[in-house]
């Protein structure tokens, strides 16, 4: 049962993250997940200073607010200051992270307060964190429900907004001429990314989320040039990473998140070598 929940949790995170990650990669914003993982620190500290508690809900609200702020600032620096997105991401998250560190040392130096101990969950702990109703009914792990609802939101967003996302991702200037608001789709996508990353951090920790946002979409990118196929493949690679990662973790008796991330990296490496179109070996053969 434990392993089933671990795989299910990993798969839910993997699908949400790799679907959104596909769009991020195509928009050259792959590291936005990593940026959010750092930039939520001031949100946590402010939530703690206001509420004087390390309970989950205030921490999540603080983190989510700063997740959205991060994406707004990235877009602002990119559009208004004409910075490259990578530079814009770098400036935004280091600035916000530093703000968090300063807040901690100024106001909460003696409190054990950082993402690791108040926000980041551990996927290994998910099967123990059960949702039991007042009537005593065991509904399974709390995170599976939260991540499941989040995945539905992500799927609904992509299904409903597919056209807008597609056009603003590939033909931004054309979108502007036909009156599609690129800004609207950008902020919608980024808000969904913030929500997904913060909720996923709370369930499975940072490294797995950042990895699933980048690695499965990058792997799929090597195999196809069609967006729907890329979305499907990256979700599939994410789920395979979760399943094989869980097996690897059992075999090694090691960190589950680490093993899933390593498998995702391994899949990328295999694709990089053997992909029929872009693979290194094929290119050497037909040169």
């Amino acid at each position: 049962m434990n392993e089933f929940y671990t795989i299910l949790t990993g798969s839910l995170v993997a699908i949400s993250c790799s679907l959104l990650g596909s769009f991020l990669i195509l928009r050259k914003m792959a590291m936005v997940g990593d940026a959010i993982s750092h930039a939520v620190l001031p949100g946590i500290v402010i939530a703690y200073l206001l509420g004087e508690t390390r309970e989950m809900i205030p921490m999540l609200i603080g983190a989510a607010a700063f997740g959205v702020l991060t994406t707004v600032l990235i877009e602002l620096f990119h559009k208004k200051a004409r910075l490259q997105t990578d530079a814009s991401i770098g400036i935004t998250f280091t600035f916000l992270f530093a703000l968090g560190i300063i807040l901690i040392s100024a106001f909460a130096g003696q409190v054990d307060l950082d993402q690791d101990c108040v926000l980041y969950g551990d996927i290994a702990m998910v099967p123990l964190d059960l949702w039991i109703t007042d009537a005593g009914l065991n509904l399974g792990p709390r995170q599976v429900w939260i991540l499941g609802v989040n995945l539905l939101v992500v799927l609904a967003f992509i299904l409903i907004g597919y056209k807008g996302l597609f056009i603003t991702t590939f033909h931004e200037e054309y979108a502007a001429t036909v009156g599609i608001a690129a800004g609207f789709w950008h902020y919608s996508l980024m808000s969904t990314v913030s929500l997904t990353t913060v909720v996923s951090f709370e369930s499975v920790g940072a490294i797995l989320v950042v990895a699933f946002l980048v690695v499965p979409p990058a792997t799929a990118y090597l195999l196809t040039e069609k967006l729907p196929v890329m979305l499907g493949l990256s979700a599939l690679f994410g789920v395979i990473s979760a399943i094989l990662g869980n097996m690897l973790a059992t075999w090694l008796d090691g960190s589950i998140a680490g093993a899933m991330t390593a498998v995702a990296g391994g899949l990328f490496l295999l694709t990089f070598l053997f992909s029929p179109k872009q693979g290194i070996l094929m290119r050497l053969k037909f040169r």
């Binding site: 049962m1 130096g109 054990d112 290994a124 597919y162 069609k226 729907p228 973790a249 960190s255």
Partner: protein, 315 residues
Amino acid sequence: MSSMNKNLTIKGYFSLILFGLAFSLISCQGGGTKEKSGKLNIVCTTGMIADAVTNLAGDHAEVSALMGPGVDPHLYKATQGDLARLTEADIIFYNGLHLEGKMADVFEKLARTKPTIAFSNGVNKERFLNNANFAESFDPHIWFDVSIWTEAAAYAATVLQEQDPEHAAEYQANADKLSREYNDLHQWVKDEIATIPQEGRVMVTAHDAFEYFGRAYEIEVRGLQGISTMSEYGLQDVTKLVDFIVERKIKAVFVESSVPRKSLEAVVEGCKARGHEVSIGGTLFSDAMGEANSPEGTYPGMVKANVNTIVNALR
């Protein structure tokens, strides 16, 4: 790029997920079957807790610790095997006071389905240190005041008696024996620390783990980092600490088994530059005990090793 193709792909995944969720609902109803093999299966978070519980339970329980020697509880991540042990455990003991970070949230919930007990719950709240001026943010390092740990262990014994009433008398006897042992240890530490001359009775360490120790045994404690091993120390922290060491002519500073030593080496270098020779007095066990089967692999052994290191370096 056909939109039909897209819809098919996404619908396929959608139904897979719905199936998965439904399956998780159906298959989780049967959890919580417990098999009794006679012995209690007890899982503890830190080695210090496991050592106390092993002594209390005697032959009636298998006791194991999740965090091994040298593991920083702040950075601990559970493995697949740890998860299995927690699932199969009859009783779980943890430290509490946020030592286990977010894992404690899970333990609080787990308490609804099986006895999951915070050691700190057995201690009178007024004995907790709170340096942060925030409500409910107590210093978790309670095991460094042996008299507090005695109180916590006595509480753990009552838990064992409740869970396994058949052997209650034995648990009581073990508890009395352990309590005597800890009382002797408490007195021994007091006497040893008192042999350090008053003006030199200052211990400088990498992070604030020894506040309870300092209060109980009348030795001043200075830490470079805050409570959390994650929080960064600033340049000013280093400078302040160097000033303090030079001014008080302190002979030695201490590194900890679960915190990297490089942070304190900066302080030693800083003192050298100011013409004051301070040595690294040795390694203290702070958040974790020594290797199993070594003298420091038990709670009293760990306390004694720390005290000997401190006394030898400062006397």
